[in-house]
Structures are given as C-alpha cells and as structure tokens.
C-alpha cells in the first residue's frame, strides 16, 4: 500500500514535469471530451434509452457511495438499499407533502443520508467482516417493512411525486432535462469523491483499510474516520435515491428490497471497488445486464445474470476498472519513452510494477 501511494505521488510529480502538452492536460482534454459527449448523447437517442442512461448514472452515484465505504475504507455493506430508500423518501415526502421543488430536495436528502450513516456507523465500529454484513443486511431487510408501516410514507401504495418539468423557455423535453440534471449531479459527486479520496481523508480511510492498527499508531483517528466514511458513503447513496424518486416520479416500499442492496454490491465489485470509474461501469452492469439476460433467455434470465457475475469475477476479480488499470499503466509506461526519452526513466521503473499500484491509485 505504501508503495502504491509513493508510486502515485512520484508519478504525479513526473506528470507535472513534462514538456510541451502535458499528460495531465491530455487527460483533462479527454475528460472534457467525455463530458461533452455525455451531454450531447441524449439528443441522438430514443426517450427510453435516455431514461435507461439516466438510471445508469443514478446507480453510479449510489455505487460510488458504496465504493467509498467498501473499496476505500474496507467496510462491507449489504444495506445501502436502505439508505437509497431514505434519500428517495426524503425527496418524495418533501415534494409530495410540502411542495418543495425537486432540485431543492437533494440537500435535505444528502443531510438525512449523512445523519443516518453517522448513526449507523457508530455501532458498526464494533463489527467487522461478516458481522457488519449481517447488521447492514438487517437494515436492508427491515427497510420495506418499516416503510409500509408508517402512514406518512404512503404505506404499501407508496407516494406519487409531482412530475418534473424542464424550465420554461428551454427547448428540451422532460427526459432529456432530467438526464442532464442527473449528469450534473454525477459529475459533482465524482469531483467531490475524487477530492476527498485524494486528500487527507482518503489517505486516512485507506490506511485504516490496509492496516487499522498501524493507522491508529500513526495517529489516525480510526473510529472518527470510519464513522465519517459511513456518513459520506450513505450521503452519496441517499442523493442517488432522491434522484431516483425525482426521475421515476414514484416511490414504493417494494422498490427497496434486499435485492437492491445486493445489486449495489455486485455493481461495485464488477466495476472495481477501489475505483471511481468503476462506479459507472457498475451502474451499466446493474441497469443493462438483467435486460441482456432477458434477451438471451426468457425462461431463466436470472440464471444468465448470475452466470454473467461469475464470468466477470473470473475474468476480472478486481473489477473492470481495477483490472484494466494495471494494463493501462503498463501501456502508458511503454508509450512514455517514445514521447519524452530519458526524462521519466524513474517513473517508468515504478510503473512497470503495476500490481502494487492497482489498489491504491485513484482516478
């Protein structure tokens, strides 16, 4: 792990040292192009496809939250569906009962998610591995029943949410407006997550994940950071839930079963748990693979879905991004000397042992 961060730091330095168009600049250009592409994409697709992609992005935000907790802090959760539901219901109740505009429901949902996560993170401090899995599982199981029990959540029937309309005067329809809205939230979420993870907080989280005792000995406030990881993680997931309520226009207890929580975990593992890009891959997996499975076999689509999980894990046990990254690092190391000979020999030495860096490197 230490090697990983060291390699990362030295690489960053080296990147900054390049002459001409720097690799950093190229990367920003690439990211910019991707964002522009993502913003233009819905105008070439059908309404339903736009809706599907919106769902992908919502799942990506939720999985990103889970990645922070599981991937970067080493705490497993089978209960993130519950926090997703908390966010969804916060948004729905605010819109349905108090007439709050949809965009204004995100901060309260984030707050509720954060508070619930902190509350939940405190007892979770005492648990590890399968015990934490059970406690969070209990939460996931309890969610639909609890939602049905109260009347202000709409009980069994759930709540309908006021239909969101694009701002007057913009030549854009509802589906595409929501797509762009969710895209903006996703980009903000990624930026915030990257900042947190690349900074002091992220380092503390990873130190705790890799060696809790050593981290504590170095003066990291283990309990505080673990609770914080829970809070931040559930904040992201609750925001995703609020987005889902806004986009779908409806919340009901049966949408937030244990299966949703498990889907998040699967999406996280398939994408790569300790990565940010993996969250997007995970979103695609959760949204599309069940549909593909349905196309392949009407009789037993979930068997195909399960098989897809198995195959993904066999082929890429560290997830798609987690497994591609060492390859990309190797490629970059091969390409660099051609661009700037000699200048970065120190870096390519480091980069030629990509296994070490695969866990710790961000972005």
């Amino acid at each position: 792990m230490n090697d990983g961060t060291a390699a990362m730091a030295s690489e960053k330095l080296a990147v900054g040292d390049h002459a001409g168009l720097r690799i950093g600049t190229w990367r920003w250009l690439g990211i910019g192009a991707l964002i522009v592409l993502a913003a233009v994409l819905p105008f070439g697709l059908s309404n339903y496809q736009v809706f599907e992609l919106t769902q992908v992005m919502i799942y990506a935000v939720a999985v990103l939250g889970l990645n922070i907790l599981t991937g970067y802090n080493g705490q497993i959760s089978l209960g993130h569906g519950g926090f997703f539901a908390a966010g969804a219901y916060t948004a729905a109740v605010l819109m349905h009962r108090y007439g709050v505009p949809y965009w204004a429901t995100l901060p309260p949902a984030a707050l509720v998610g954060f508070a619930l996560g902190l509350l939940f993170g405190l007892p979770a401090l005492r648990f590890e591995g399968p015990y934490l899995a059970l406690v969070t599982l209990a939460m996931a199981v309890a969610t639909p029943q609890t939602l049905k029990y109260f009347s202000w959540t709409g009980g069994q029937q759930g709540l309908h949410v006021v239909k969101v309309l694009p701002p007057a005067g913009l030549p854009i329809d509802r589906d595409r407006w929501l797509y762009l809205f969710v895209l903006v939230v996703l980009l903000i979420a990624i930026r915030v997550a990257a900042n947190l993870l690349n900074g002091r907080t992220g380092r503390a989280w990873m130190a705790i994940r890799d060696h809790p005792i050593a981290a504590a000995a170095m003066g990291v406030d283990t309990a505080g950071y673990k609770t914080l990881a829970f809070g931040i993680s559930t904040l992201f997931t609750a925001v995703a839930g609020a987005l889902a309520a806004i986009v779908v226009g409806f919340v009901a207890p049966e949408s937030f079963t244990l299966f949703l929580s498990i889907s998040f975990l699967v999406g996280s593992a398939v994408g790569g748990i300790a990565t940010i890009g993996g969250a997007i891959v995970g979103g695609f997996f959760i949204e599309f693979v069940p549909n593909f499975a349905n196309d392949i076999s009407d009789a037993a689509p979930w068997a195909i879905y399960g098989l897809a999980m198995l195959l993904f894990m066999y082929a890429m046990p560290r997830g798609v991004i987690g497994s591609i990254r060492p390859l990309a690092a190797w490629l970059a190391a091969r390409l660099k000397p051609a661009a700037a000979v000699g200048e970065i020999s120190a870096t390519s030495n480091k980069a030629s042992t990509p296994q070490q860096t695969s866990q710790g490197r961000l972005e």
Binding site: L265, A303, Y305, L310
Partner: protein, 289 residues
C-alpha cells in the same frame, strides 16, 4: 404459560432447521473465510431432488439418503468448478460469485420445477404430544437435527478425515506440509455443508411448502443464528440457530404482527451483537502488528 411453552417448542423445531443451515455456513466459513450466500438455494435445489424422488415412489428415507449423497457430490463439484477459480481473489469477488450462484440455482429451480408451491410429504405424523405442548413433527425435526449433529461431531472427532479437515481449516499451509490434501478437504467441506443444507431443506419443506423462494427467509435466520453464536463456532451456530428460532416465534406471538417479526428479531439480535461483537461463542479476532 401453556401458550408460551408451545411457542418455545415450535420455535425450537424451526430453530433446529436454522441451526442446520447455520452449521453449513459455519463449516464453509471456517474453511474458506467465505459466507456462502448460495447455501440456502443449494439446499432448496437438493429438496427438489428429494421431491422428484419421492414423487417417483421412492420410499421417503431412501429418497432422503439418496438426496444427501447427490448433494454431497454436488457440493464438491461446486467447490472444484465454481469456487476454486476465486480462491485467491479478493473476498468481495468470492462473495459476488456466491451471489451469482444463488441467482443461478434460484432461476434454474424456477425454470425446471416452476414457481408454484409444491406440497412436500413429512416423514413424521402430525400428532399432538405432551398435552399439546408440541407435535410429533416438531419432535421429529429436532431429533433428525440432533442425530446429524452427533454424526458430524463423531466424524470430526474420531475419523482421520475429520482430523485432516480440521487441520486444513485451521492452518492450510502447515496442513499441506503434513501431507494433507487441503484442496480435497475444502471440497469435502463444501460437500458436507451441501448435505447438511439438504437435510435442513427436506425438514423445512413440509412446513413452508416447496418453491424456489423457500430458503431465502431460512437463510437469513441461519445467517443470523451463525453470527449470533459466533461465525467461527459450530456449537455456537447450533445454539444461535435455536435462539433465533425461539426469538422469532415469541416475537411473532407476543410483540408484533408476523409481518414485522423478521425485522424485530433481527434488531434484537443486532442489539445482542453490539454487546458481544464476536457472537456468543465466537473467538475474538486477534491481529498481529
């Protein structure tokens, strides 16, 4: 008081079933540090095999024995074919593989046997016993579980294979140096777990009726029981399973409508775990720096 005792005994019967499945989970966890989410669905699939045999007019206990044998072999095959490739992968990858396995078995069962509820014969007559405190069926279920436990205990305590399996679970590297074939022991462990699960499935099927979703609730209770007892302790798993069964029944009778009893039971157990984070009988995790 009568109602209370009645509920305790019927809780013990369902608890015995949870205990069996919990034991299967613990066996696999001890050997491979992996919670097998597919354990319940494997048991459900085994139960369908028994159901087919019984429908083909095989006598009940012969069908039972045959099913256990098939499940044992099936469990070994699954370990070799499905689990082995992720043996050294990150834990989460292995967890996802067992979740995938869960979906596959569930969908396969639905596809092969349809999702309609099937009646499953009980080997025990349903007659009241001891002044209606319990039924012969409850007693039968508890007896079968106890016999299975005794056999397992004898296997691990008195046979060379049992000793080798314990060694392989405790310290794979040293066991391998002693000439124990650790891989084979893991496969046997999975086979045994599958057979134990099959017993649980066959015992629970007459009560819950047989369908592909039959074991999902049972697995949750078993998982809870295993952790309550301490996931590293087989005895704990059995006691934990029994406690969960009784708690569930009492909560359903006295506290709250049965719709919420799963939730309440889980919350109670989580509260217990807050005070005993390694379960009632589990060993604390000790780390070297």
């Amino acid at each position: 008081m009568h109602l209370f005792l009645q509920q305790v005994f019927s809780g013990l019967a369902s608890g015995a079933i949870y205990a069996s499945l919990a034991l299967a989970l613990v066996m696999i966890y001890r050997a491979t540090d992996l919670v097998n989410f597919a354990q319940g669905e494997m048991a459900m699939f085994s139960t369908y095999i028994a159901w087919m045999l019984v429908n083909a007019n095989v006598p009940f206990w012969a069908a039972f024995a045959l099913t256990l044998a098939v499940s044992f072999i099936g469990g070994m095959v699954i370990e070799r074919v499905v689990i082995r490739p992720v043996e050294n992968a990150p834990v989460l990858a292995a967890v996802v593989v067992t979740i995938g396995l869960l979906l596959i078995f569930n969908a396969l069962a639905g596809w092969l046997f349809t999702y309609t509820l099937q009646e499953f014969p009980s080997p025990f007559p349903d007659r009241p016993l001891f002044g209606a405190l319990m039924t012969t069926r409850d007693l039968g279920v508890i007896a079968v579980t106890l016999i299975m436990l005794a056999l397992l205990f004898a296997f691990f305590r008195f046979t060379a294979t049992g000793l080798a399996m314990r060694a392989a679970a405790q310290n794979p590297a040293s066991a391998r140096l002693c000439g124990i074939r650790v891989g084979r022991m893991l496969a046997i462990g999975w086979g045994l777990a599958a057979a134990i699960g099959a017993t649980a499935g066959i015992m629970v099927a007459p009560i819950l009726f047989l369908d592909p979703e039959m074991m999902s609730g049972v697995l949750l209770y078993a998982f809870t029981g295993a952790l309550l007892g301490g996931i590293t302790s087989p005895v704990g798993a059995v006691i934990g399973g029994l406690i969960v069964g009784v708690t569930e029944n009492l909560v359903g009778t006295y506290l709250i409508a049965s719709q919420l009893k799963l939730t309440v039971a889980l919350i109670l157990i989580v509260i217990v775990l807050v005070f005993r984070p390694n379960g009632l009988f589990g060993t604390a995790i000790v780390r070297r720096v």
